[in-house]
Symmetry: C2
DNA sequence: ATATTTACTTTACACTGTAGAGTATTACTG
DNA sequence: CAGTAATACTCTACAGTGTAAAGTAAATAT
C-alpha cells in the first residue's frame, strides 16, 4: 500500500508521544493511550512498537538519569522525528479524505 | 490492543466499500482507494483483505451474474455488515479522540 | 481457434499486534 | 545489609496484516 505501512497501533503510539509531550516515556505513553481510548495496553506491545518505530526512523529516544524515588530507575524518553510526523500527517489526511462524506452514514449505521 | 485489530489497509478497504455503494466489487473498491488516496493498490492485496474481512464477519459478499461485455465475468459484490460498521466507527472515534488537540501541532510539525 | 479484456486467486514472505513471563534498577523495611 | 516492593523496560513466540509476483477463469472480439 504505502512505501511503508503504518499500523493502527503504531499510529496511536505516535499520537501518544505527541500528547505526552516532553515527558513522553514508556509508561506515560501507555497512560495516554489507556486514558483516551479506554483500552488496556500491555507494556510489551508498547515498548516493542516504540523500538520498531525508532528503527524505522520515525521517532527518537534518549536514556535519562534515574530519579530519586522508589523504583525510579532511568527512563527512556521518546520524541517524534520529522519523518514520523510526516507519516502521521499523511495517514491522517488519507483517512479524513476517505471518511469525508461517509462519516454520517457510518455513524448512523 | 483491541479484541481484534483493524489494520489501516482493512480500514481503508471498508471505507472503499461504503464509498463504492451498492456497486462495490473488487475493481470499483480499488478505484475508490486509488482515486482518494493517490496510492496504487494491487488486486492481490485488495482481494486478500476482502476475504479476510469477510472471514471475520465484518463484510459480506454475493456472486452476481456475468454481464454481456468483453471480459464481463461474474463480479463479487461486497457490502458492510453491522459488526464491520461498528468496528469502523470505533476505530474512527479512537483516532479522532487521540488527534483532538494535537492535530494543529502535527500539521505545523 | 486464438487473442483480448475483466475479475478474481494462489503462494510466499515480511511486517505489525499481542500476551506471558522475565530482567534490571531504584528505594523502603526491619 | 538481606529481603521486599515499586517502577521501567526486555525477551520470546506466534498469530494477524500488508504486499507483490505470478497465475487462473470466464466473458467477448477477431
Amino acid at each position: 500500500m504505502a512505501r511503508q505501512s503504518l499500523g493502527e497501533f503504531e499510529h496511536l503510539i505516535m499520537l501518544g508521544i505527541v500528547r505526552a509531550g516532553p515527558e513522553a516515556y514508556g509508561v506515560s505513553i501507555i497512560e495516554e493511550l489507556e486514558a483516551h481510548t479506554g483500552r488496556s495496553v500491555s507494556q510489551a506491545a508498547a515498548y516493542l512498537t516504540l523500538r520498531r518505530l525508532e528503527e524505522k526512523g520515525w521517532i527518537k529516544s534518549r536514556l535519562a538519569d534515574p530519579t530519586p524515588e522508589r523504583g525510579g530507575r532511568a527512563k527512556r524518553y521518546f520524541a517524534m522525528k520529522p519523518a514520523g510526523i510526516k507519516r502521521l500527517r499523511e495517514s491522517r489526511a488519507t483517512l479524513l479524505t476517505m471518511w469525508d462524506g461517509v462519516a454520517t452514514e457510518i455513524d448512523e449505521g
